[in-house]
């Protein structure tokens, strides 16, 4: 393989580039990125970047030395519009065609939108440009902020807005925020975190429309209420960015379908990060985006699946001064027990807590709030147990 093109210049694309060089690939390396920016870290966009605690320079994932070491051709600010698997080429929006032996698909996901989003004052939060625009809105004085969606982006953004002194309302369609991710017990804890800081949390209620003439002024809800709003943040999830692959021979189904080793039906095409459905599941976690590239690159260079991804899901979220960490696989019906610390009706105190999710007598996931050390031990133990169970099955 003498040339590889990475489509997507964010976290997993960058990690793939590093892995290619680390694993000895010395051919031509092209990195295509839709955004004009070099790779940056997205998690701070809803937190320290929004509150002004971190500037853009702190988001950078590369420095000059890194960039020189990668010896890549960066095509930034240009979209890929197609993959010609027969001609072995990536087609770009600017009319250019990049002929390539191998392809790493790392195009990530795109924030879902609502009708009416063209109104000024309505934001999504996915990219640096999104965060810049939202921040510019938030520093213009006291705002009435309505956050649609109580997931991670919604909760963190609401927390940052409240920290900046704005009046914040979160609207969540489900009975509790983060219900599918955390289950009812821990979702209730997250609801308490919102309310404790004076954020109004409306649950079990959808949004019927965004209203205003040029700028948004109101959000109407399915229960007939109308919320006044100066700023609206739409945090209703993201869709894998696969539209550019329509018409290619790749199988697309809520992401690019890959085997356990991030390899598509074509051995010279692998996918990593938010866009990849690896072994039947797609994650939108920072950790999977950084772990998959090693495996994907090994397999790409080998021309077949030698390595598989076997990491345990892990994610974290900073909300209202609390750090929530979660590892493992939660399912509906798991029993949740606090094994360290306490949590009252209005949320945990400063000492936080550790909770275990149990199923059929064993721990399947752990969640920590402000208990990093206990959480890390529990996460390690869980990983070890999973590894031990996986070994006999593999033999």
């Amino acid at each position: 393989m003498s040339s590889v093109t990475i489509v997507g210049a964010s976290l997993s694309g960058l990690y793939a580039a590093r892995e290619l060089r680390a694993q000895g690939f010395d051919g031509r390396l092209v990195i295509v990125g839709e955004e004009p920016h070099r790779p940056y870290d997205r998690p701070p966009l809803s937190k320290d970047f929004l509150t002004g605690r971190a500037g853009e320079e702190q988001l950078a994932l590369t420095d000059a030395e890194d960039v020189a070491g990668l010896d890549a051709e960066w095509l930034l600010g240009v979209r890929a519009r197609g993959l010609d698997t027969r001609g072995r080429a990536v087609l770009l929006d600017n009319g250019r065609t990049v002929v390539t032996d191998g392809v790493v698909i790392a195009t990530g996901a795109t924030a879902r939108r609502l009708p009416g989003e063209s109104l000024a004052g309505v934001h999504t939060l996915r990219t640096l440009d999104d965060a810049r625009a939202l921040r510019a809105d938030l520093v213009r004085g006291a705002r009435r902020v309505v956050v649609i969606g109580g997931g991670f982006i919604g909760a963190e953004t609401a927390s940052s807005c409240a920290g900046l002194g704005h009046a914040v309302t979160v609207v969540e369609a489900a009975p509790l925020p983060l219900l599918p991710q955390l289950g009812p017990e821990m979702a209730a804890v997250c609801a308490a975190l919102h309310r404790r800081r004076g954020v109004e949390l409306i649950t079990g209620t959808g949004v019927t429309g965004l209203h205003g003439t040029a700028t948004v002024t109101r959000v109407s809800l399915t229960d007939g209420r109308t919320l006044p709003a100066d700023t609206v943040i739409v945090g209703i999830g993201a869709s894998p960015a696969t539209s550019w692959l329509a018409g290619s021979t790749l199988a697309l189904q809520d992401g690019v379908l890959c085997d356990d080793g991030c390899v598509t039906a074509l051995p010279q095409v692998v996918a990593v990060g938010d866009v990849a459905r690896v072994g039947g599941s797609r994650a939108e976690h920072w950790t999977s985006a950084t772990e998959q590239p090693r495996v994907a690159v090994t397999n790409l260079l080998a021309g077949r699946t030698l390595a598989t991804v076997r990491s345990m899901p892990y994610f974290w979220s900073d909300q209202y001064g609390s750090r929530i960490q979660f590892a493992g696989r939660h399912r509906e019906g798991d029993a949740v027990q606090l094994t360290e610390g306490e949590c009252g009706a209005d949320g945990p105190d400063e000492a936080g807590f550790l909770a275990r999710y149990e199923r059929e007598g064993r721990t399947v996931a752990v969640l920590g709030v402000d208990r990093p050390r206990a959480f890390m031990r529990a996460r390690r133990a869980l990983q070890r147990e999973e590894g031990e169970r996986a070994v006999p099955a593999a033999l």
């Binding site: 870290d41 994932l61 950790t287 950084t290 960490q325 990093p372 050390r373």
Partner: protein, 107 residues
């Protein structure tokens, strides 16, 4: 020079955070050696004193960046910059940290 704690209060394999500016993490490895480094991970805001200690390496509790306690150098991504290291002494049974005066030096 900052007094940290009595040596017997820092068991092997444990660490303690010193509320200096910036904060410092002091480690006692499994083989008894003492090391001090800046507590805040150079990648993102997380306390290394709460990390996973294995030999002379500490792994950040948030994103698994790893640092060599002897040099302060990161041994893997996502950290790219070193943390400062500080000299540790034990005087009359009390662990002391000698804060490295220069910001940004690795050793």
């Amino acid at each position: 020079m900052i007094p940290v704690c009595r040596l017997e209060d820092l068991p092997e394999g444990e660490s303690v955070r010193v509320e200096a500016t910036p904060p410092i993490a002091v480690f006692r490895t499994e083989d008894g050696a003492l090391y001090a480094i800046d507590d805040t991970c150079t990648h993102q805001d997380a306390s290394l004193s709460e990390g996973w200690l294995e030999g002379c390496l500490v792994e950040c509790p948030l994103h698994a960046a790893s640092f060599d306690l002897r040099t302060g150098e990161p041994t893997c991504l996502p950290a790219r910059r070193p943390v400062r290291t500080h000299r540790v002494t034990v005087e009359d049974g009390v662990v002391h940290v000698h804060v490295d005066a220069e910001e940004g030096t690795a050793a």
